[in-house]
Every structure is written in structure tokens, then in C-alpha cells.
Amino acid sequence: MPERVILSIGTKKGLFVAEGAKTRRSFSLRGPFGTGVSVYATLVDTRGAPRIYGSSCNAFFGMKVLRSTDLGKTFKETKSCPAFPKEDGRALANIWALEAGNGKKDLWCGVEPASLFRSEDGGDSWQLVDGISNHEHARKWHPGNGGLCLHTIVPDGDRVHLGISTGGHYMSEDGGKTFSPANAGVGAGFVPDPYPEYGQCVHKIAGHKDAPGRLYMQNHGGWAEWGGPGGPRPDIGVLRSDDHGRTWHSIAKGLPSDFGFPIVVHPHDPDTVYVMPHEGMTRACPGGAPAVWRSEDGGGSWRKLAKGLPRKDSYFTVQRDGMDIDELKSPALYFGTTTGQLWMGRDGGEEWECLFDALPPIHCVKVAVA
């Protein structure tokens, strides 16, 4: 069977799967799966036989992990779901991240309250990762607007990078056994100390396999006008590290806002990175005019990509996992909105078209060629 472009779309009312040929001329939609229940994390796992995972986050009856082994035609619950030990005292409130681990069936899962689980059997059993979940800082982190969530997991061999709101960036160099905060240069706007050791509201982190040590971060920016203790903190929102996250520096100059949620790296060029600047107050693109911004020099300069997008009156948010890029030769970007639109930008975002315009509010979008 020829390879297909598979989009897994987590929404407020369940998981949808869109499938199209590699030409990406049209997509057919399946779902919703886990009907009526919010999906905050999804993963298209193309290691071996493709599997699609989705978190099913039921505010009434608790959390589930859904898995498909037929490219999203059907989904079943995995045999178990991440859960804290009874004596721990914490209870799972949400599942925010699902990522592939090192082993063929290894999975990572980030949850609220901010903790990490891992599975070695494709999601049928889960173990709490003590090194971060019971870190000495864990009971000192504070919840952000989305709750106290561990939402970003970036595996890199024996390194594992985590994004926690509001805990900051934590890194393991021993395969996930132990973790340390690594936030030098990562600002925070909501505490008196502008550069604390930990406690930042990281929104998303992305890396690239061809650039060891390079990481990009979308942090909680929007503090240029801050007049409280510690003074203004301009340009703390979009950052880059070249030493595996030990130190970070701003690459926000040239963007219309340093606030936003997703950050995505081109699959074939680690110098090309995409963000979607939002205004801090509206959680929408400046002036209600949506645009993705691209840098082709690692954040040195930025160019606006808005051809085909609405020019005004659009006040949607694109959430932290709401944007992804496929791995075809000329890759397309995709983003989903809180108003239920799924957009595709051909040629790395040069020209946009709306694939679906009336889905439920979209939390997350992942794409793979399978």
C-alpha cells in the first residue's frame, strides 16, 4: 500500500484521523474516537507497524489511553492508564504528552499534576518516573493557566528534556532516572526574580536529530511592559540553546510578539524553525491576523507566512501541540485552532489552505507519513 499522510487531531470532542495521499490534495476524515471526550495528547508512532495513540481525558470518569493499530480506523483502550500509587496522594487530572521512547515499544507520558510515566509495552502498563515526579522541586511548582502539567517530552538518546508549566525545563542525562533543572537564560514574568532556577512557564521545546545540542523553546513571553518587581522582561519568550539546554538565549528579535505556544523545527533543516506569535492578553495572533513566522537562520531573523490565511477578524488560539510538520521532501505545516479549523501550509508554510473548517476546538495535531 502506498504511503499516506496521517494526521491525528485531538479535539474537545474526541480524536479524529485525517488521511491523504502524499500529494496532499485532499484528506478524508475518520472519527471522532473517544466520542465527546477531550484529547490533549496524540502520537503517530511509526516505529515498526504504525500505531496511533490518543489521551482520552474525561473530566467525569478519568483518563484513558486509546491506541489504534490500523492507522486510525479503530481505537481501543490500552490495558491500563498512568495512575499514581494509592499512597502517593495525587490523582491524575489530565494527560498532556505522549512520546516515543528509546525501545521499540517504549512510551513516555506527561500528565497533570506534573509527573512523568513510562511504558515498555506500548501503553499496556505504566510506571511512575520518580526522578522527576518525586523531584525535590515537584511540590514547589505552581499551576499555570492550563494546570500544573508536564506537557513536553523531547527524547534525545540518553537525554530526556521535559517542559513543565510552571516548573521550567528539566533534563535527564541518564535515560530518565534523574533530572535537574536547566533554565539558565530562561526568563519568568510572574515572579519577582526574572531568571529563577526553576518555575518558568515553558510552553514548548523542540529539537532536531541533525543538530546535537540544539533546542528551541517557546516560553511564556509577553512581559516587555511589566512594571512590577524585577522590571520589564522583553524577548524572554522565544529561545535557543546550543548546549543541550544548559544555557538559553533569546531569538525573539524580529517577531511581532514573543508570546505563543507551539514551536516546530523543519524536518530536514535544523536552522529552520516556526512559531506562531500570539498576544498575551487575547491568546490570538496580533491584530486578529493569523500568521506563522519562520526563521531560516536559527532564529537570527524572521519572515511572516500568511498567504491564504485570514487577513483580519480571527481570534483563535493555536495551543502548544496544535502545530506540526510532515517529513515529505517539501514538507507541509499544519495547525489546528481553538475554533476548529485545520490549516495546511504547503512548501513549509508558503501557502495556506483550510482542510477542515468546523471541527471541535483543536488541542493537538500530529502528522506522520505511514
Binding site: 474525561n58 473530566a59 467525569f60 470518569f61 478519568g62 492508564c81 495512575a83 499514581f84 500509587p85 494509592k86 502517593d88 496522594g89 495525587r90 490523582a91 491524575l92
Partner: protein, 92 residues
């Protein structure tokens, strides 16, 4: 041991083999939940979180009264009592 009837709401019947009612022996709401944990673990996990607390948006009624209007999880059950699981009302 009193035999009571547990009413299962439609969204949770995937965890009760499709049954709308389950019959079990239990002297209290707490014991009924413990019995559910043994006999229908998926149903139990949908009603209680991993600390054992009843989920925030799940209501348990003993006959016509919410358990919080009686003695909570320690509410005694008598033969023939009905324990009803209901999601809290949401929406507008």
C-alpha cells in the same frame, strides 16, 4: 450481608459487560465500591480516582439521597437498597 443493586449509567456500561444493573453484597457504600474494585475494576476506576476518592464529577445516590446527605462513604446499606452512579450535570 445485604444484597444491593448498583445502577450503572450508559457511558460506563462498557465496564459492566453492558449491564445496567449489578447486584452485590455490601454493608456500606465504601464496601460496595471495594466490591466493584474487585469485580469490575474498569468501572471502579471510572468512579474513584487512584487515591480512592469518588471523582469530583461523579455522584452516588443511595436510593433517593446523595450519599453526602447521609454518611458519605460510610452510609449503611440495607437489603434491597439501590446505589446509583450518575455523572454530575454539566452544560447550559
Amino acid at each position: 450481608m445485604p444484597q444491593v443493586t448498583v445502577f450503572v449509567p450508559a457511558p460506563l456500561r462498557a465496564y459492566s459487560g453492558g449491564a445496567a444493573e449489578l447486584r452485590l453484597d455490601a454493608r456500606s457504600v465504601r464496601r460496595a465500591l471495594e466490591e466493584l474494585e474487585r469485580s469490575h475494576p474498569g468501572l471502579y476506576r471510572s468512579v474513584c480516582d487512584e487515591t480512592g476518592a469518588v471523582r469530583r464529577h461523579v455522584n452516588l445516590f443511595v436510593n433517593e439521597l446523595h450519599m453526602r446527605e447521609r454518611d458519605g462513604l460510610d452510609t449503611a446499606l440495607a437489603p434491597g437498597d439501590k446505589l446509583t452512579i450518575l455523572p454530575a450535570v454539566s452544560g447550559g
